[in-house]
């Protein structure tokens, strides 16, 4: 199968599909998206799929705010037959230390400047929002009712189907083995099914972007980090918001289907491509969540799995071109918050790839910031 394309997109997660759709919508032709397994087989299909505007840096707040506005109309925009199951039940972020209280107030300052409807709530008010919340030790929280959750499979499917209708070719079960370049220009990709020549290649393969970039000698500062997660049996709706505690490293949300989805970060995770589940996680997750949300003790866990965060040194995505290789673009390093900003990221990347002025600045996310030592740290990530 040797062939040519104008644009090759590597990775069939929500980011790749969103970029493919946005490029095609802008009139770009001859786009091929390559996915080594099935769509959503990477982080996207394994994520908690929480969507929030409550960030600590202005750009992430804006990316998320615009994305949430887009999620609100996504089914229509993409002409999707099904539902992407978008639920805006809010996010309740819990503060347990003075330092967190201080950081949250700083974050609120940033958020309010941008018109994000978040607010500080006392422990008692938090309990009104989530009546089964144990407020022992809680100093307060921030809440934003516009935050929420969305089905990651359906969202990606919606983007993929809309992209296909606009002429994008999606090749699943096809693995990119290496990137091809000549004289400082990208020339295509070699896959396990043959070569595809293309003047533009967009790398959005999650943590694996690092290995692919390495085939051209490019050193991407991406480290895979396992994050574990579980789902319970579905029950009657009883919890509106996502409850998130940076102190406990956990998040817990009841999805529209009725199941609770919850996960836990472990700072001691080895940085490797391992996504097996462990019993230790089940115990630790259960202990922490039943302390925070006691009635959940009665819920049965039906499944547990894990996925990889693609972490960067400042826990911020890398967006834009890769210097030295004309035609090569990167959207990776989402450090655990890539799903919620996918709608806007896809749009910005399409604008950038087509050489247009981007609707929001993306230069702070450029690859060269690490070499310059200008890290752009996001304080609000689990």
């Amino acid at each position: 199968m040797n062939k040519t394309a104008e644009y090759v997109i590597i990775g069939g997660g929500v980011i790749g599909c969103s970029i493919a759709y946005n490029l095609a919508k802008k009139g770009a032709k001859n786009i091929v998206l390559i996915e080594k397994k099935y769509l959503t087989s990477g982080a996207t299909g394994r994520c908690g799929a929480g969507v929030r505007m409550q960030f600590g840096t202005e750009t992430n707040c804006l990316l998320a705010k615009k994305s949430i506005e887009m999620f609100e109309n996504l089914e229509e925009e993409l002409g999707y037959q099904g539902s992407i199951e978008f639920k805006q039940g809010g996010y309740l972020l819990l503060a347990y230390t003075e330092k967190m209280v201080e950081q949250f107030h700083k974050n609120l300052g940033v958020q309010h400047k941008l018109g994000i409807p978040s607010s500080w709530v006392t422990p008692e008010e938090a309990k009104e929002i989530v009546p089964h919340l144990n407020i022992q030790g809680l100093l307060g929280a921030t809440f934003c009712g516009k935050d929420g959750h969305c089905n990651p499979f359906k969202t990606t499917d919606a983007y993929a189907k809309a992209a296909e209708r606009l002429g994008v070719e999606i090749m699943t079960y096809t693995e990119v083995i290496k990137l091809l370049a000549r004289d400082g220009r990208i020339t295509g990709v070699e896959t396990d099914k043959g070569t595809i020549e293309a003047p533009v290649v967009v790398l959005c393969a999650g943590s694996y972007s690092r290995d692919l970039a390495a085939t051209l000698g490019i050193d991407l500062p991406l480290t895979p980090e396992r994050h574990q997660i579980l789902v319970t049996e579905p029950v009657e709706m009883m919890q509106g918001p996502m409850v998130m505690s940076f102190y406990h490293g956990l998040y817990c949300q009841q999805v529209p289907h009725g199941s609770f989805v919850m996960g836990l970060g472990d700072p001691n995770e080895p940085k490797e491509y391992n996504y097996n589940g462990t019993w230790q996680f089940l115990h630790e997750m259960a202990a922490k969540v039943t302390f925070l949300l006691p009635p959940l003790a009665n819920l049965r866990v039906v499944r547990q799995w894990a996925g990889l965060y693609d972490l960067t040194p400042d826990r911020q995505q890398i967006l834009g071109s890769i210097p030295g290789f004309e035609g090569l673009h990167l959207a990776a390093g989402f450090s655990g918050h890539g799903f919620m900003i996918a709608p806007m990221t896809g749009k910005l990347m399409a604008e950038h790839i087509l050489g247009e002025e981007t609707s929001l600045p993306i230069s702070m996310f450029d690859f060269s910031r690490f070499a310059r030592g200008e890290l752009y740290v996001e304080p609000s990530v689990v």
Binding site: G45, M285, A286, A297, V301
Partner: protein, 96 residues
């Protein structure tokens, strides 16, 4: 769905209440990958994790694609093998 008297509907995934007709609709659209059917329809995502529906689904896919049953890749079976209460798991940590 089951009260639709004009149609002879068959429940294939009992946990998630998915009918054979819904599954055939997806297969007819070209979704013949068990992984994708699971994610788009929730078949096999319920408490039984596909113990009942997976063999039936595999047969449907084999029939539609003409591939032998043994060549249809299965989805990953995830722990715990039976549904366990969070409270029980939480208790476990203190007794270890």
């Amino acid at each position: 769905m089951c009260d639709d008297k004009n149609k002879d509907l068959t429940i294939l995934c009992r946990c998630e209440d998915i009918t054979l007709e819904e599954i055939r609709e997806y297969i007819n659209q070209g979704v013949t990958d068990l992984e994708q059917l699971k994610r788009l329809l929730r078949v096999g995502m319920g408490p039984c994790q596909g113990r009942t529906c997976t063999p039936l689904l595999v047969n449907e896919i084999a029939k539609a694609t003409g591939r032998p049953v043994k060549d249809i890749p299965l989805t990953v079976f995830r722990q715990p093998t039976t549904a366990v209460k969070l409270g029980v798991l939480a208790g476990g940590i203190n007794h270890e």
